[in-house]
């Protein structure tokens, strides 16, 4: 302890470690060691040590009852209530700690150039990414937040897209621009040109995953859409044959064929298969086979009025009853075709009723108002 009482002793903290340094004995010893002339003369000292004796010849020793310090309990109270200052001590490993630098993210300005910091795909580095991220499960997340980013393995395992921020994309596009040609302005001005110039629409989808694997089997699905009108050299026979070959893949309302291929492993293979199918359909539709002359009324896609039993009936009806006009028959034929070839709805049935009444000459007695629009049963 005496070795510490050197030139820097005045810089040392007073409390705690130095509680006994300020004791009465210690101050005395300090005074004695000061050797700057004793505060008491030699005469006084000799008197105190030799003459100031009791009947037993003992020197007078001062009795220190109250130590010149605050007790531990009192000090604790003062510290807790904030009446004294707490001493600040540096840690034992302070030098080792000062030797290591702060994470880079703490020194990053807010407006820095992120693409330069993270130019390519890389594993997550918590010291580099300045975002306060947390990741991890907790039993009660409202009590304890998920684990912090430093040393968090989960953040490393997942794919991050820090190399694909909008700024990155912008720069990629700028770099690619010299290899591109401008979008044809004719297509912008005339949107219907897209259909005539590019009749085939190809659809496929990519899938992102939050997991250890980026693969998704749905990505191999390939959809091709073509309008029937975009085949220029299709006559009625070819169109009909095409529709027969294609079956339910054809949408009547939009006149579009949709082929979905996913039987091959890769998207490219599925695309090539779809292209093959389209080519095969085109050439087959144009061909006329010998067995096609066996086509009967049953094979038609729609039920035609001409050649139907109804037509015969109405012809006979016209013979029997005189008041059947040809215009009524024509209107009936059209309504019947609609009624027969579409799913039956109340509206179709009513229009059918009108045409039959005109045909048979039995008009409606009561004009009923439109039925109430209630929910269907």
């Amino acid at each position: 302890m005496i070795s510490t009482l050197r030139a820097g002793s005045s810089l040392l903290p007073v409390a705690g470690l130095g509680r006994r340094l300020n004791s009465t004995l210690a101050s005395r010893m300090k005074r004695a060691a000061a050797a700057s002339g004793s505060y008491e003369s030699e005469e006084d000292q000799r008197h105190r040590l030799e003459e100031q004796v009791d009947e037993y010849g003992e020197q007078f020793r001062e009795l220190f009852i109250n130590p010149k310090r605050k007790l531990a309990a009192q000090l604790q109270l003062e510290r807790m209530t904030g009446r004294t200052e707490r001493e600040k001590y540096s840690r034992a490993d302070i030098h080792d700690r000062l030797a290591v630098r702060r994470p880079r993210s703490e020194e990053m300005p807010v407006d820095q150039d992120w693409p330069s910091v993270w130019p390519a795909a890389a594993t997550y580095k918590s010291s580099v990414v300045p975002l306060p991220i947390r990741m991890g499960t907790r039993k009660k997340p409202e009590k304890r937040a998920p684990f912090k980013k430093v040393g968090n393995l989960e953040l490393l395992k997942i794919p991050n897209f820090l190399h694909l921020t909008p700024e990155h994309i912008k720069r990629h596009c700028e770099a690619m621009k010299k290899f591109t040609t401008p979008f044809p302005p004719e297509l912008i001005q005339n949107p219907s040109l897209a259909e005539s110039e590019f009749p085939v629409t190809v659809r496929y989808s990519d899938y992102l995953h939050q997991g250890t694997s980026l693969r998704d089997p749905r990505a191999r699905v390939n959809t091709i859409e073509v309008k029937l009108d975009s085949f220029p050299d299709f006559d009625e026979h070819a169109k009909d044959k095409f529709r027969h070959l294609v079956g339910s893949r054809f949408n009547e309302e939009t006149n579009t064929l949709t082929i979905v291929t996913d039987r091959c492993y890769t998207r490219k293979q599925n695309r090539e298969y779809a292209d093959f199918l389209l080519t095969a359909l085109y050439y087959e539709a144009l061909k006329v086979e010998s067995w096609e002359e066996l086509k009967a009324r049953n094979d038609n896609l729609k039920v035609e009025f001409a050649g139907s039993k109804v037509e015969k009936r109405i012809a006979e009806l016209a013979k029997k009853a005189e008041d059947v006009s040809p215009s009524a028959v024509k209107e009936f034929a059209e309504t019947w075709y609609e009624y027969r070839n579409q799913p039956e709805t109340p509206e179709l049935t009513r229009s059918y009723e009108d045409s039959v009444r005109k045909l048979l000459g039995i008009s409606r007695l009561v004009e009923t108002e439109k039925p109430k629009p209630a929910s269907s049963e």
Binding site: V310, R313, V366, P371
Partner: protein, 363 residues
Amino acid sequence: MALLPKSSVKTLFSATKTLTAIRPYNKAASDDPSQLARADLGKLYHIPVDAAKNLNFNKILPSKYAKQLNTLDECAILCRPQFLEVLHCFQAVRPTFPGIRVVLWGRFGTGKTLTLAQAVHYAYTQNWVILNVRDVMDWTRVVKDVQMSTYRTGRIDLPEHSVNFLNHFKQQNQHLWKTILTDLKTTKDYVWTKTEKTPIDKPLTDIVDMGLASPFLANDCVGALCRELRLHASSGALKLLVAMDAGNSLYGRTVIRKADRTFATTDELSLVQQFRKFFRDDWTNGLVLTIADKREISDAHIDPFIPIETQLYTEAEAKALHDYYKDKQWLVTDEARSEAGLKQLYYLAAFNPHHFERLCAFN
């Protein structure tokens, strides 16, 4: 009802006519369906109870209405547009025109079966011959005894259903039994079996009686009866009404199994084939009235036919019925009898006639 002598009843009524009597409910001008016109829309007319009994209304009408008929001891039906349309079609029937095909269609509970019953009653009043099938779905879905036809191989006879039908026919046409149906004679020899036959020029009632006597011949008798009626209708001797409830089941599915445990198609049932012939154009002077029942999904090609729609109640129609139920003490609670109650009934039933009646029965 017959407590007062008739004369005093007449004076009573004439007395009430001089007062501006508030009618308890909207009555039609006459109870004779042939007199009903547009002015009678939304009004109730009565079918006499003995006519209802003769026409076997208990079996034809929807069960709830049949119960109401028995309870109130009277048959009051609302005159609605669809019935007037059907009457108009009745009037269009003539010997030069092939059988007019009318199909009643509409939502559940809007009065298809009831309109059919009204049409049957009208035909009864006009002395038409009535061929009424209670429910074609019975034939296809209720499997009673089954017999292979001897007339055509591969066809299936339904003896019990045929007997029921012949009984029903006999009951409904009692008023013509001794007159038209006895006067009209068979046009050819019918050899039922080696021992039984109905020779030519015998009254048509013999065919019916033969079918009723021997059930195993009943189906063939039904076919013969249908043929004869068609021929006589075409010649103008009678007017024929063929009224089939669930007529679209003639083109639907069956639950009848054949010997190899597969389901029979409707083409293989002789009853169905016999009634499908009514949809042909080779006979005249008749009306074929069917109902397109939603219980069956079928693809019936009986063009050209007139589809007549049955619709939900209008406020006036529902009010007329409400007044009738009030008058008959059918409505029990005071809330139901009030105007506010009527408005609630409108919307609780969503203007559906069936639900309206059910609600009135329980309130």
